[in-house]
Symmetry: C2
Subunit: 339 residues, 2 copies
DNA sequence: CGACGCAATCGAAGCGGTTCGACAGTGAGC
DNA sequence: GCTCACTGTCGAACCGCTTCGATTGCGTCG
């Protein structure tokens, strides 16, 4: 493997000049620049990551902490991951993957060994045990999700409160008077994951504002769970005319239960889902839905953490919470209730 | 952040001694060892990853190249990823994620900059363009999947040929005389992904051995695709009494189509699936299936690549192909055909 | 015409570990 | 009592790159 000295010799310059050509941190005459670049090409030079990290105190690696809790929808997670990796590359960074079972220790390890320049943490709980650790790390970090007390953190997420409200408002506008929220699995609420809690809060507040009767029902991922919850909903409140579904895995089971029980969508029951567009599309009828802008969130997370990395400003003057406004796409699953 | 010199001073030894305590590469008296370990604990010392990588020529990072092609089943991919990350940690390594759109350049970059000690590459095609690159890298790599010509590579995979045969044999044993394979999406075959091709080959060979009439039908991921393929199968060959399904996304649609068309499982149609156990379990009736041992494969991949990293033997004396024997679990979806 | 400023480049000192050869001390063997 | 083999520890030389201060050559200004 060619080293910087080889390149320097080949181009007839000092090693530092090569370094400056590469980093652009000092002016280099166009002529020399081209000569150096050519030598780099000819020799196939690639700087040694470790050496570079040691000397520059920058590893060009970002850590991404992904959740693998029960009750999360894996494909959505993967959308985040891909978006983060792709965006990170635009900032000349790679992504290191940390999983749940490494826990908090993993955060400390990668940060304290200077393995990474910054961290992105997904699936934030309201009282997340990782937060105090993150705060102590002296490496920039960004949360995907919003804790109870975000004070000095930088958080990014879909505005689930607004999303819950938006779903309800859409249904209220259509004239529905009783709506049920079919939510995430009970585990998710038990963990007090921010998004589930906020969505149902937004939903409930909007309901009382609009004077719509509303109930919330956690729901497991299996078709059986979906059936049970659905029958419970319609038994307890036969006047329910609309559902908000915030559970990708339950969508199918729910639709099937409705079919089996002779309730047509949207004639008898309207449905609004919070789910990726692919899922909303592939069922029949296509669902009116609020998508989770995974790509956008991932991008923004990387941009934010990179800004901090590059700014070098670690003693941030406070945090920031970026909530992405929900976009509701009307499809074929919502209509006014039958009179 | 404490450095090795701080630890050395605190413990009253030379920096090299601290290093040897940590690496265990030279004998250190138990007494000194304890003293050093204590100092490490007290100071919260964590070695600088870059410095370590530079000096030792080892980054303690593995690269994992994941596929994101159309037609792949994301949750299964994630199982691999988790298994790889978890196992890597047992070898004191972290995992860097590379995605498709970085392409071959990504491989070269992480390998040539010494960012990683070894690479694991998923979703191998029969003629995979990444192979020549991998060969030139002078870093150990392991393939998850098997190309046409694995010569000097180390490959790990489920034995899809055997799996195809096993499914057919199970059905033949039950007395079925005509079986259809509902396969992966057409894109997957077009790319000549090893697993899809091998499975159908094993299936066909077994069929002709057992004198069972067999057909193969690529199938898209949507419910509509599943319906179309299913009706085609039973129209073209009304005597079909069993299906082998190698397509996680189509399972549901298929089951529903059968239900809608009055074909009971297993009384009228037997089904064997190649899919994760979770999927086999959550449908009704639970499916007889061959699981994809993602966890096992991921583990083995890491073990293999780590053996090469630690062996330092890069000029391997040839490769190896580890095929994991398929295990068929009989559940409620298979039975003898009606007479 | 000398002082000065600026652009372009160089040289050397780190960055924080690992590793190798050297060396002191100790106990065994003869 | 002397040699020899070991064990445990030390010191110094790297690993390959970045960065900072110094240096050179030039055009400009007073």
């Amino acid at each position: 493997m060619a080293k910087i000295d080889d390149v320097a010799r080949h181009a007839g310059v000092a090693p530092s000049t090569v370094s400056y050509v590469l980093s652009g941190k000092r002016a280099i005459s166009e002529e020399t620049r081209q000569r150096v670049l050519k030598s780099i090409r000819v020799l196939g030079y690639q700087p040694h990551a470790g050496a570079r990290a040691l000397a520059s105190n920058r590893s060009n690696v970002l850590a991404l902490f992904i959740p693998l809790h029960a009750g999360i929808h894996v494909p959505v997670i993967m959308q985040f991951v891909v978006s983060v990796v792709t965006t990170a590359r635009q900032f000349d960074h790679d992504v290191l993957l940390l999983t749940q079972d490494e826990g908090v220790k993993g955060l400390e390890r990668v940060a304290n060994t200077s393995l990474v320049d910054g961290l992105i943490v997904m699936d934030i709980e309201l009282q997340d045990p990782r937060l105090p650790v993150l705060r102590s790390l002296r490496r920039p970090s960004v949360l995907i999700g919003v804790p109870d007390d975000p004070d000095d953190f930088h958080c990014i997420d879909l505005d689930f409160t607004a999303a819950g409200a938006k779903c309800l408002d859409h249904l209220a506008d259509l004239g529905h008077r009783r709506v049920a929220l079919i939510g995430s699995p009970p585990e998710v609420y038990k963990r007090e994951t921010g998004y589930a809690t906020r969505l149902s809060a937004g939903f409930k507040v909007a309901a009382s504002r609009r004077k719509v009767a509303a109930t919330v029902h956690p729901c497991g991922s299996s078709n059986l769970d979906a059936s049970l919850v659905a029958s419970e909903v319609f038994e307890d409140h036969p006047d329910t005319t609309a559902l908000v579904v915030h559970n990708e895995d339950a969508v199918d089971g729910l639709m099937r239960w409705l079919g089996r029980n002779g309730r047509r969508v949207p004639e008898d029951v309207s449905i609004v889902a919070i789910c990726p567009d692919e899922i909303a599309h592939r069922v029949n009828p296509p669902l009116t839905s609020v998508a989770i802008p995974a790509e956008e969130i991932g991008e923004e997370a990387v941009r934010t953490v990179m800004a901090m990395v590059e700014g070098g400003v670690m003693d941030e003057l406070g945090g920031s919470t970026t909530l992405i406004g929900p976009r509701l796409t009307v499809r074929d699953s919502t209509a006014p209730p039958k009179p």
